[in-house]
Structures are given as structure tokens and as C-alpha cells.
Amino acid sequence: MRVLLIEDEQRLAENIVAALRETGLAVDHAPDGETGSHLAGQDVYDAIVLDLMLPLKSGQSVLRDLRREKLHTPVLILTAQEGKESIVELLNAGADDYLSKPFDLGELLARVKALIRRAKGVSTSVLTSSDVELNTVQQTVRRRGHFLELSPTEYRILEYLIHRPRAIVSKQELLEHLYDFDWEHHSNVIEAHVSNLRRKLNIPGTEPLIETLRHRGYRLREENSGL
């Protein structure tokens, strides 16, 4: 999952980026409204954390333009302003959630994750697909009750795939959503991670979970459909 943080306060941005990365999300940071609006317009983010007071372009304008372009990325507003009116206005303008400064970092992470989940149509923190169970809080994966040891990237690939059941997910899409600009990424890196993931998921007595569709991408197989 990839998150965009639009926040001009350098130190605060550093902390939020670090926290979001530690929780397993890819994060890009835009230090002003113009850059933020431009990045958000690429539609590769699963959530946006938006400050209101920004140089060049205000948070409100960023949000308005995003919604005008029919982009439905969930947006969490960070505000230091008091007053219910502006919050109501923002929610009406298309914001999905808000947090007042000073906020709790843990709460921010939980809310961002909840926004991502809900945007993908899942309301609990434990995702399941056939016999695989993925706990997004503890970041653990179980198949048929057995805990699997996954690397962070493998975990994120699996999480993304579970969020998109039955859909064919291209390597490009995985790259866009799993890596931020700070990472070196090539499609063969994805291939290597997917191959490792597939191997780890392949415990005795089970069928391969991830299908590869040549030149198109990957798909999570729904075992139940075969029953």
C-alpha cells in the first residue's frame, strides 16, 4: 500500500513518513500543495494524508481538485484549526477523515490503515482469502493455521493481492502501490518477491495460491470457487 503525505512542516513530515514506513506502507512526501496535487493526480496512492495550511496551494484546493478529477483516493486531513464548521466543510468537500494536531501517531497510522481497508471494501483488520488469514495489525499471515514467515515486501504483495480478489494485478500496479519514490524498483524485483512468496505459501497439501498470467500479471486464486 502506498500513501502520499502532503505536509510542509519538515520535522512533522519526517516523523509521519518514518512511522508510516515502519508500519509497512510505502510513503511519498510532498512539501507543498502544488507538488502534492500533482502527485495525487497520478492515482497510484491508496491513501493521502493532507495538511491544510500549505505553501503554493491550500489543502482545501488540493482536495477539491482531486475530487473534481474523479479520483476517489481516501483522504485524511491533518488540521491545527479549531472549529467544527471547517471540518464539516472538508468532509462535505470529499475528505474521508480528519485528525487535529497535536495527534497521536498510533491513531494516525490506525486511521490511515482503516481508510485503505475501507476503500478496498474490507472493514476488519483481519483479511481472509480461502485458507489464508492476514492480520494487518500484527502483520502476520497464516495458512491453514500455520504461521508463515514473510519478508515485509512479500507481506505487502500478499496484502495488496488479498485486497483485490479475483482481479488481475499487473506488475506495474504492484510497483506503484508497494514502493515509494525512495526505493529502487524494477519489475524483476517484483518477480523475485512474488516467486518467494509463492514458495512460502506453498505448504504441503495445498494448491498454488497465486496464479501468473503471462504478460498480464498476477491473480489470487479463490480455492472455494472450485468446490
Binding site: 510542509d8 512542516e9 519538515q10 520535522r11 512533522l12 516523523n15 509521519i16 518514518a18 512511522a19 515502519e22 508500519t23 507543498d32 500543495g33 495550511m53 500549505l54 505553501p55 503554493l56 491550500s58 491545527a80 484549526q81 479549531e82 487535529s100 494536531k101 497535536p102 495527534f103 497521536d104 501517531l105 498510533g106
Partner: protein
Amino acid sequence: MSRSISLTRRLTITVLVLELTSAIALIGAITVHERHTQFRAFDATLEATAQSLMGAVQDAEDGGDNVMLDMRGVEVGKDAAFRVEDEHGRVLGFMGNPPHLEALPSGAPVFQNVKIAGRGYRFIVLHGLRIVDPGTAGGVRHNITIVYGTPVGRVWHRVLEAIRFFAIATAILLGVTAWVMVWLLRKGLSPVHELAREAERISSSAWTFDAPASARETVELRPLTAALEAAVGRLQRSFEQQRRFTNDAAHELKTDVAIIKSSLQLLQMRKRSAEEYSRGLALSLDDITRLEMTVQKMLTLARLEQPAEGNGSDSVAQSCSLRDVVEDAVHQSRPLAELKGISMSVECSADARVPIDSRDALLLCSNIVLNALQHSPDGMNVHVRLTSEVDSACLTVQDQGEGVSDEDRPYLFEPFYRGDPSRSRKSGGTGLGLSICKAICERVGGSIEISNVTAGGAIVTVRLPVKPPAADSALSASVNVQ
């Protein structure tokens, strides 16, 4: 002491007292006049009756040429008293018990008031000559004296009657006037009540004061209306300024606290190595230092914006040499200038003692110099110049940056204004520096201004009164910063 004064009551009472006084004077005059008229009429009646009594004295047709009183055709009042007598004291006729009264030798009628049996009478004494048998040798002459009187009570009764009529009329008039006046006054004062009602609506959340048309049209209320409008406007502006300051201050502090909180929470998210902890702590300390700086500047601004205590004695006691302070400030900012490769030229033609605490003066000068350095592109020049005039000192700091935009100019001295809607702190500072400068200048009656130089760049001009502060030196200062 809760004395309340009602203008309506006061006016009503004043007018009524005046009316009453005039009424009493009028009644007095009427009394005098009425009494006079009534007594004249009374006397005329007395005389007429006495004359008719005189006419009733006739020849007795006896041998002695005597006279007698023939009362036929003569009408006297029921309770009248009279006596008719001749020169020998012979009583020709009488009624009641009239007193013996002396007549004037001239024979002119005499009027006299007498009390008979506790009752006031007015008598007329009339002398007349009656000639019997005038045909024969001139006839017999009889000197007749008539004393005739009637009670005066009736006259007084009539006078009192007249007075009573006037008194009642006056009382009715007073009552009507009072009622009409109260009604008129109430009506006349209604603009005051309307104004009060409108003024009552003013509160800290609703600053609209729209003076009612009635108050606007009333000449006497115009100064009050105008004063109220002006006062409300001033209050509203200062209230809004305060609110903006509070909001901005809250924003600043919340952001600082958010940074510190997130730094520590990030550190807490999982177990970390000793290096990570120490780096995190160092960062958190930096964050706290910045919060501390913001708070300190806010407190400085708050202190400076307090009116100076004991205006004069205090500020005279604290004074400093502006040249020393300027040199100090320039010296302190050298490292930053060197870092940016900016050359600083200082020109202090004269020294001046200004009535400012040396620490505040240093704060003022270094803020302006640092501001100029921050807004100067690398490798340019910042020129500091101190000149002294008759009763003021003038400090200018000129840079070669991009100058101030007309948009920003009105807000440069407002707290937390950074010429950037985001209040981004990348440029450094809390946005309180210029506000603090302005507060320091205005506290001693000086001024600070920022304008652009045609050659490019901004110039800050500070004007400060020289110690001892001239009583009402209108000092203007202008500062230019870009």
C-alpha cells in the same frame, strides 16, 4: 450610591413647578383685582341706596316744617342697617343698629368698615340738604345724615368664588399639561430607548451596530450615535486582532507540540538501538527548543504590548546608546553574514541615547539585521546606517533582496505573518520578530516602517525618540525589509 435621575421626571417637575408658580401669581393678581372691582361695585351700590334713602326724606307736611322718611319705593337689603337723622339728631328712620359714624366736613360720602355682632359691615355716611317749602323765603333747610351699611361677607364670597374658579381651572390645566408633557417626553425620548435597544444587541460574537434611523435623525443623539459606532468599530477590530493572534498562536503551538509528540511516539513504536534512541532524543530536544523559542517570543511580545508602567520615570531610567547596540547586533550577526557571503556596511554618524532597555534595543536591532540577512541573496550587501536628528534617532537597514510585495506590506508587522499562507517555517523564525520590533518602537513613541528601494531591495526605517523623550514629538519611523 445608586442615585438615579430621570430626565423625564425632572423636566416634568420643572415645568409643573413653573406652571404652578405662574398660576399662584396669577391667582394673587386676580384676587387683588377682583377685590378691588367687587368693592367698587359694592360701594356704588351702597351710595346708590343711600341716595335713594336721601330721596325718601320728604316734607312731613306738619306745622314745624319737619321732614320724615317715606320708605315707599326704597329697597334696602334684608340684612342692611341704616339710620337717617336730621341736624338735630332726630332719627327719621332706622333699621338694625348702625354705629354712629363721623362724616367729613366737606360732605363727601365716607365709607367705613365696622363689625357688628361679629359680622363685617361696610357703611356709607352721606350728608344731604333737604329744603322744605322752597317756595317761601328760601324754605326750611334740613341737614340730613344717612348712615347705611350692608354686610361685606357677600363681597368676599364673590371674590372667593372667582378665586376658586381660577384655582380649579388652573389645577385642571396643570393636570392636563403634566399628562401631555409626560406623553410627549416619552415620545420624544423614544430614539434614546431605540438606541439603547440596538446597543444592547452588541456582543463579542455579534459586532453589528446599526444605529436606528430615529437616533441618527436626532440632532442631540448624533454625537452619541457616532461615538458608539466608532467605539464598536474600534473594539471589534481589536477583538478580531486578539482572536486572530490567539488562533495563530494556537496553530503554532499545536504544530510544535505535534512534532514533539510524533517524534517521541515514533521512537516508542518498537524497540530500537541505542544510536536510534539517542538520535531520536536529540531530534526531540531540537523540537522542544523550537517550542520554547516560540513561547518565549510570545511572552516577549505580550510583555512589550503591555502599556509601560509609570510612563516616563521607568523609561527614562532605562536607556542605552543606540550606536553600541547597533554595533553589537551587527557583530552578533556576522557569522550568518559570512555563511551567506553577505558584506555588511555600518555607518554610524552619531550616537543617540534612546529610552529603551538595552536588551530590548538589541532585540530590535538584531531582529532587523537578521531579517535583512535572511532576505538577502548570497554575496550581496546589507547596509546599516544610524543618523541622529534633533529629537529622534533614525536607524535604516537596507538589503538587496527582492523587496516587499504590496500584498504583504500591510501585514508585515502582524504576529505570525510570514508572507506565506502556509506559515512555513523553512525560512526560519516564528513570524513574531517584526511584531516584537514594532512593539518595542511603539512602546517609546517611535515607529518602524518597511518600504522598497528603487534600486532593488527593501529598507527598514526605525525612528526612536532621543532621551529624554520629547513630550509630544511626533515621531515617524519607517522600516524597510524585504
